[in-house]
Structure formats: C-alpha cells, structure tokens
Symmetry: C2
Subunit: 242 residues, 2 copies
C-alpha cells in the first residue's frame, strides 16, 4: 500500500533540516515528503546529501499549504506554543500520535505540517488544520530544531508499547541447576579458604545459596563463573594449607 | 534536586550534533552533558552556538568512558544494530524508557551513552554498560543522526501518557440547546427555500436534527453558525416568493 502520511514542510530554510527530516523519515519508514514554498537553494543542497536520497528525489513541491494538503482527510499542524488563541484543538504528542495512527491504519491520507525554522506555522497555515499537536518540551524553551521535531513525531507514530514489551535480544538466564552447581563450588572454595566457620556451616550454606540466586546470571555467564571457581579451587588444592 | 541523568556523548565529531544534543536537552529539561574524548574543534564550535549555552558551558569532558560513568548506578548504551552478539540485554526504547524513568525517579544517577556519528559505541564502550537500548528504526536504515537520536530518547523519558490524555487547549463543545437552535433555524430556512417537501416534513426534521448533531461543533462556532443562518433567513424574508 502507498504510504498515507504526507510530511509537509512549510517554507523550510535550512538544507540540513530538510535532509534531517528526510533521514528521520527513512529511519522510520515514511516516504511521502511535501515542501511548500521551500527556499530554492536549501532544497537543492538538501537533494545533494547522501542520506535518504530517494525521499528527497520524490518530494513534491507546492506553492501553497492548501494545495499540499488537498488530498488529505486529516490535516494536523505542529506548534511549539502553549496557547495563543489558536482556535483549534491542541493535543500533546502522545494522544495526537494515537489519533494519527488510527487514521493511517485505515489507510486514509493524513498530512502532518511543520512550519519554518524561524516562525513556525502562520495563522493562515493553521487555518488548513483540523487540530494541532505539541511536543511536550519545556515551556521556557519550547522551540525545537525542525529535524528533531520531525524525528520525534515519527518515532511517536512508530511507537509500539506492546511489541516493545519483550527484549530484542533474549539472554537465556541461568537455570536452578547452574545456580546449585555454583553454590556447591563456592561452598567448597570458601570452606578450603577458611572463610566458613564450621559451627555455622549449615546457615552459611543457606546464606550463600540465596546470595548466588540473587545474581542476575545469563546462562553463558554461569558457565564462565563455574570455570573460574574450578580454576581457583584447583589452585587452592595445590597450595599447602597454612 | 540535581538532575540525575548524564547524557554522555562518546567521541562526537560534528559540532552541529553536539549543539543539537544540547538543544534537545534544554527542550526537555535535562542539564548534565558529559563528553568523552570529543573532537576538540567540534566542541569549541558547538560552544559558540547560541542555543542551550548553559548546558555546553557546564558540560564535563572525560578521557574515558569509565571515568564519565563512574558515579552512575545505571549505565545504558544506545545502538542502531539489531544484533551482533552484544552479550548484553537489548531493549527497544519504549520499555527502556520505563526502566530509566524508574531509576531516575528515585533520584539515582544514570548515564545514557551515545557513540560517535560514524561508528557508534565500540565494544569497549559497551563493556561499561549494563544494558543497551535501540530506537525502533527500520532494519534497512537503522542508523540515526546523533542529535535526532538524543532528542527521541529524551522525549521518551519525558513522555507521559496519563498527563497527555487531556487536550491542552480545551474547546467547549456546543450544547444540546445550541444544536436545537441551529436545527430550528435550518428547518425554517429550508422550508422557506423550498427544500422541504411538506408531505415528508416530519421525517425531514428528524434527518436534519441528526445531520446537525453529527457536526463537531465548538460552542463559539455554534454562535457563528446561528448568526449566519439568521442573516440568510432575514435575506430570504425580503425576497419576494417565486
């Protein structure tokens, strides 16, 4: 299916930002970039960058916001302001992402608008939007770099709390058997080292077992530790007792 | 309380990236930047940037990763790779953010490490980490811009699904009374315009009421629509019937 999300940069000025937006799009698997009235030189320079070439080559240029969002059934503006009589519903990015994800899941086209580096979206730009979103940055320094703002919004759209629940790299953890073998070796080792008091040996064993169980041990590390303790035990065995 | 999170950039090369990382820190309210073995020129240039000056001025420089994370009880590395025998637990950013937030909430110091632009974290850098996190970028283009990666991680740390549930800018919606007044005016208007068929007038009224209720209407807009319809009605009243 064609990517239903259009990332619309309105009047971007800095080629590095256009390139950074394209790179973030590529990182998160979005392909449809639209530019409204970009600074010509900036767009040319951005196109010569190595990253995410295919996105910039296919980017469409429009003269007005109206044309750029014409085919979209959801049009969302981004703003760094907290309130300035926006006359539009304003959501934080977290629930805004949810609304956008829902719309895109139904393969309905949506536009996400980012204003120019210096001024953000104008009141006229915003009049094309159904609602606005705000990245939850600090009130004292709300204004974000354009490339970073795009990256954060796209991350939120790809965020998946459910898929994320499991570890990416599973580390098989040590089994009870591994723990028991380590405990036994350690007991032997501590006994021979004179660490254990024979009169409290039994409670020491329990303490030691719990001590070992509290280790967060991947299975492969258990093998390494067994080897280490065996080696030390072997060395101690060769040492004449004091 | 002092900010317990240290953002550690290992061997950064590009002053723009150091500046972008500092800006994102300022946006999301983090203050402790540490640099390991930065490219001297890059650090000097970044310091001359206007944004987030205070963060760069207080940034501490270390010769090794070991020294930079010495006071941290949680040390987390970032990686773009999916798997390369990392020998460390690897989490997606979503659950990783949860683990970090928990740790920081207890005001315990933690370090979040980002590698150099070209090579990422080395195996030696990673040997100081307890676990790794990965931003869920595409497998085919996983490598992210350093400034964007920092921004996304900090956004995840500040993410607050609960606080985000409500709209930032509440728009009081139209009341049932508003809807009823609009419906009545419209009925009158359509009647006088000859839109309504007298024989089906009753079912038309129901249809019209439902049509109006389906409008997503902020309270202030309801007033505007009432004014518009009244004006049209007035104009029609002055028109001689055909």
């Amino acid at each position: 299916m064609a990517d239903p999300l259009r990332i619309v940069l309105v009047a971007p000025r800095n080629p590095l930002n256009i390139g950074a937006a394209a790179r973030a799009m590529s990182n998160f698997g979005f392909t449809q970039m639209r530019l409204v009235n970009p600074y010509e030189v900036a767009f040319k320079e951005a196109r010569s960058a190595v990253h995410s070439q295919y996105i910039l080559e296919n980017a469409e240029v429009f003269a007005t916001v109206g044309e750029a969002v014409g085919d979209c059934s959801m049009v969302v503006g981004t703003t760094a302001g907290w309130r300035r009589d926006l006359q539009l519903p304003l959501y934080r990015l977290e629930p805004a992402g949810e609304l956008l994800r829902e719309h895109l899941k139904a393969e309905k086209p949506a536009a996400l608008l980012f204003g120019s580096e210096k001024f953000g979206l104008s009141n006229e730009d915003m009049s094309y939007c159904q609602w606005l979103l705000r990245i939850p940055s600090r009130e004292e320094h709300g204004s974000m770099n354009l490339g970073q703002a795009v990256a954060i919004c796209l991350y939120e759209l790809r965020r998946d709390a459910a898929a994320a629940a499991q570890r990416l790299e599973e580390m098989p953890t040590a089994s009870a058997e591994d723990f028991e073998r380590i405990t036994a070796l350690l007991l032997d080792l501590l006994d021979r080292s004179g660490y254990l008091n024979p009169s409290t040996a039994e409670s020491s064993e329990l303490k030691l077992r719990r001590l070992v169980r509290r280790l967060g041990l991947p299975a492969s590390d258990a093998v390494t530790w067994l080897g280490i303790f065996r080696q030390i035990l072997w060395k101690i065995g060769k040492t004449p007792s004091a």
